[in-house]
Amino acid sequence: MPGLEDLYREIILDHYRNPRNRGELEVPPAHRAEGFNPLCGDEIVVFLDLDDAGTVTDIRIGGTGCSISQSSASMMSAAVKGKTVAEVEDLTKAFKAMMSVHESSLDAEGESGEEIPDEAALAAFEEVKLGDLEALRGVVKFPVRIKCATLAWNTLAQGISEAQESA
């Protein structure tokens, strides 16, 4: 049975207490994207500066949420700053692979057992270095919280795609 220590790793609590890149950027030139978690009402705002070469030159995070969504957003902001859009996309895929539960674990009896991470999806991106983000691996054992962890990432992806469309 997964315990709380699997979910609330010290590094997660650190990012929750001391969120990185918290704030806003001027729009324009920055792009602003909003994401909602319809289950819990959490809201994430991502402000994004992209240069002509497609590099994330700056990022800020606003909104409110639980420790998982806020720490994931904080770690994400630190991880993607200075990266190209292509690198961010790889990182996003790797992170979401880590957050995906293999379908077979949903098929099991009602008792909440071990969730089985989707190894095939993970393997496809194992060369991508997740760094601090690895700390969120335990979230997959608490399936309801997966959406908390991926909220910032989905919002970032939306922001990048809107930024590219408007370029």
Binding site: M1, L4, L13, C40, G41, D42, T64, C66, F142
Partner: protein, 411 residues
């Protein structure tokens, strides 16, 4: 007679189980209640002895099934004080469908540009979104009844707000703050202004003695699964003259008197609003749930919940001090057994996660009342709600779990 929660608990098999090696402390009945053995048995007895589709077959068990379902209709009607149970009680799949039925049938036939729908800021999305959906087609105005600081309805401006209003969408009790609303007062004012009242009674019918005729409302919606009954069964009660004049909502089998090559004629009440095979076993389960509740006595149920709520508000405040906020009315008698809690600096999702380690089931989130969340100035709350099987041990476990969660995240 004092209320014996221990005796009640013994009737609910799920409460015997342990979760994480602890006694299951179920405090989420406002979302869905647990079911007593009598409800489970009534449903399986139906399947084992008289399972057949209703209103069609002439064979014995089909007649028995029809009688059982129609008996449930009468039982439901009497339980809520419906003047004409046989025609005024419509079975739906849940209260959400009941409210959509009113909007799509009465609303579509009676609302247009220049009209207004008045909604309270306490409402659940189920009594908001159907009106927005209809507004997009019919172009009427939507107005809101605001709240006081302790989440009660602020009626100072009611006469002005009611001007031109045809529908008042009103909850009898908030699923977030437990606020009980002055239904009779608002209904009287609404009727004077020429408006009907659509009552969301989901949190009221399971917990307080209900008499729709006395409340004076025009429609009332509630769900079986929040009142010890099964999921998949909702109720719409409406005044007969209104239901009679309304067009059908869903079309199909069972709701027609005649179908021809050039059209159809709808059936009489209540069949007009019950297209397709109804949730037969669920009506029988709901009947058994009402028998169970009436066995306890709804006055006694209400008294038990007020006592428990008062005890919980006192215990939690003593334990958590200023760090704890309980949204809504401070006076237990002004509210139902629903406590929406906030602890300084800790997100409700995190609170609830730690409480789960104590096998304490509370619900984090916006509780499908986002406009209310905005008024309260929060994104979410952690909600504990009480019912007949909860006791002071559950309150103690709640206080313990909440204190543990608060210390887990204190930094």
């Amino acid at each position: 007679m004092t209320f014996d929660a221990q005796k009640v608990r013994a009737d609910f098999p799920i409460l015997e189980r342990e979760v994480k090696g602890r006694r299951l402390v179920f405090l989420d009945s406002a979302a869905s209640s647990q079911k007593p053995t009598s409800v489970l048995e009534a449903m399986s007895t139906y399947y084992e002895t008289i399972n057949a589709n209703v209103h069609r077959g002439v064979y014995e068990i089909a007649e028995a099934a029809t009688n059982a379902m129609e008996g449930a209709r009468i039982r439901v009607g009497r339980f809520i004080g419906a003047p004409r149970p046989a025609t005024e009680v419509i079975f739906t799949k849940n209260a959400t469908e009941s409210l959509n039925l009113v909007a799509r049938s009465w609303g579509a036939a009676n609302l247009g540009p220049g009209d207004a729908v008045l909604i309270t800021q306490l409402e659940h999305h189920a009594n908001i979104v159907p009106w927005f959906q209809l507004q997009a087609e019919k172009g009427f105005e939507i107005r809101w009844i605001p709240l006081t600081a302790d989440a009660q309805l602020d009626l100072t401006d009611l006469p002005r707000l009611l001007d031109g209003v045809k529908v008042v969408a009103l909850t009898a009790m908030s699923n977030v703050t437990g606020t009980l609303t002055p239904v009779r007062e608002i209904t009287a004012a609404a009727h004077d202004a020429g408006a009907i009242v659509v009552l969301d009674a989901c949190q009221y019918v399971p917990h307080l003695p209900t008499d729709v005729a006395n409340l004076g409302v025009d429609f009332a919606a509630f769900s079986g699964h929040k009142m010890l009954g099964p999921t998949g069964i909702g109720v719409l009660w409406g005044r007969e003259e209104l239901l009679d004049a309304m067009p059908p909502f869903l079309g199909g089998g069972g709701m027609i008197l005649d179908v021809r090559l050039d059209g159809f004629t709808p059936a009489e009440l209540p069949a007009k609003f019950e297209a397709g095979t109804p949730p037969i076993a669920e009506t029988i389960g709901l009947h058994a749930a009402i028998d169970y509740l009436e066995g306890l006595g709804m006055e006694a149920v209400r008294e038990h919940e007020v006592t428990l709520t008062a005890h919980a508000m006192r215990t939690l405040t003593e334990r958590l001090g200023d760090k704890l906020t309980i949204h809504g009315p401070a006076e237990p008698a002004a509210r139902g057994g629903v406590l929406s809690m906030a602890v300084d600096g800790i997100h409700p999702h995190d609170l609830s996660q730690v409480m789960d380690e104590h096998a304490v089931c509370v619900r984090p989130g916006h509780h499908c009342a986002k406009p209310l969340m905005k008024v309260l100035g929060v994104g979410a709350t952690a909600r504990a709600s009480f019912y007949v099987y909860n006791d002071t041990d559950d309150v103690d476990a709640l206080a313990e779990a909440l204190a543990d969660a608060a210390s887990f995240f204190s930094f």
